[in-house]
């Protein structure tokens, strides 16, 4: 598959025939700046699908972000472009600061997530689960991902904190024309944050998988094959 693609869909995210364990093959697309929701019962494979898109588990199929294919890119670079926010955050250094990349918008994001600026000096072991959840979003955004794969980003948060997270993700998405895939269990929230909602059931994906985004085949027709 070609490493670069012509056509529409600046910043678009294409998933072409991705299979992992009992899920797939699935194909769908998310336009740059668009947010889609993914729902399904527990154990249906929603998180597994996000892990496959981030290339964290062995899987088949192709994923293309903004014209660049996953297979043509080193995995660590791909994972910085496609930012996956797992349902449970994990930390490995002593302080918050050591996990964050310096970024001009960081202090603003931290403030919008309900933190004082000195939170970066905090030790990770004094953070509550909810604080870790919110800070893990700031940690992810500080790496400037070009797509967001969010696995229940507000699962451990109260209504106010959830509102902060929803608002920040929405602003980041529109400011940087970033495609967002939001996995969640709350149908009301998914319909609030996403323009389309897909459902993982019986190993497949149902719903409007392409919306207004052209399919990968449509987009790549005429593009040179490598």
């Amino acid at each position: 598959m070609s490493a670069s693609f012509n056509g529409n869909g600046q910043g678009s995210f294409w998933v072409d025939g991705v299979s992992i364990a009992h899920v797939g093959p699935v194909s769908f697309a998310v336009d740059g700046g668009e947010c889609i929701g993914v729902e399904g019962r527990s154990g249906s494979g929603k998180s597994l699908l996000l892990r496959a898109l981030a290339d964290l588990d062995p899987n088949t199929g192709e994923v293309v972000l903004d014209g660049e294919s996953r297979s043509g890119m080193e995995a660590p670079l791909w994972r910085t472009r496609v930012g996956l926010l797992p349902a449970e955050s994990r930390w490995w250094f002593e302080t918050v600061e050591e996990h964050l990349q310096s970024c001009s918008a960081l202090s603003d994001w931290l403030q919008r997530l309900g933190f004082e600026e000195d939170v970066v000096k905090w030790r990770v072991d004094r953070l509550s689960t909810g604080e870790k959840q919110r800070l893990s979003l700031a940690r992810l955004l500080s790496r400037k991902p070009q797509a967001l794969l969010l696995d229940e980003p507000t699962a451990n948060l109260d209504a106010t904190s959830s509102g902060w997270v929803e608002s920040l993700i929405s602003d980041y998405r529109t400011a940087f024309t970033v495609p967002v895939i939001w996995v969640g269990h709350d149908p009301q929230q998914l319909r609030r944050v996403a323009s389309r909602v897909l459902t993982v059931e019986e190993g497949g994906l149902t719903g409007d998988c392409f919306g207004s985004t052209p399919t990968l085949q449509e987009t790549t027709s005429g593009a040179p094959e490598s």
């Binding site: 981030a54 290339d55 964290l56 062995p58 660590p76 994972r79 930012g83 797992p86 930390w91």
Partner: protein, 265 residues
Amino acid sequence: MSILSLSPLDLAIASILILILALLSHLERLGIARTILWSAVRMAIQLMAIGVVLKALFEDLHPAWMIVMASIMLGVSGREVSKRQKQRFQKGWSYGIGTGSMFFSSFIVTAVAIFIVIQPDPWYTPQYLIPLLGMMLGNTMTAVSLGMDRLIQDVARDRMTVEARLLAGESWQQAITPYAQDAVRTGLIPTINSMAAAGLVSLPGMMTGQILGGNPPMLAVGYQILVMFMIAAGAGFGTIFSVKMASRRLFDERHRLRLDRLHKP
């Protein structure tokens, strides 16, 4: 100085101590009385067997026998390394990594000792080659198995943290580094401790054996220092090599943590 030989009766009297220990374990319901007795019997049989083999080797001096003996020792120690892992790699990778690391470290270090330091004539004189290689393999085996076990246990337990580091754009080498460092340290602790305590807290087994066997203490000390250097180097090289190999095996070419390559615990 004359050497006092041990009769079977002397050994039988010493074995009474083991019987008492087993009885005490039974009375205290520790559940290890049988294991103690079986280990003691197994140890006696193994040592008598090696005694017979060494006697035969001493009488029929040929390098081919040395190579056969060294290969058997290496194969058995590789199996021991694999057995001591709580979680092993599938498809014999634990055995392969363990045996490969011990071959790489023990054989090279023993070769240095034989060809450069001691220089016996001929080089395959079993009196030097077999005991030195045995001690190297025994100690390297402990270090390698401790290091590999620690690495795999820690990474399996911290799977989500390792994956969080990968998601942050780290390569597998960056994500595994703190775990690999801890694993190497763990593997080398017994060796470092035994070097630190040698002569102050404990008299090392080889030196004690030589002194009991009638050799002058300073000669025994000289050999013990040589052996300590060899063991430290061999255990260090073996542990570093095995932890590097095991670390590589834990990830694939797409920098994905592959715990599915381990047998289920």
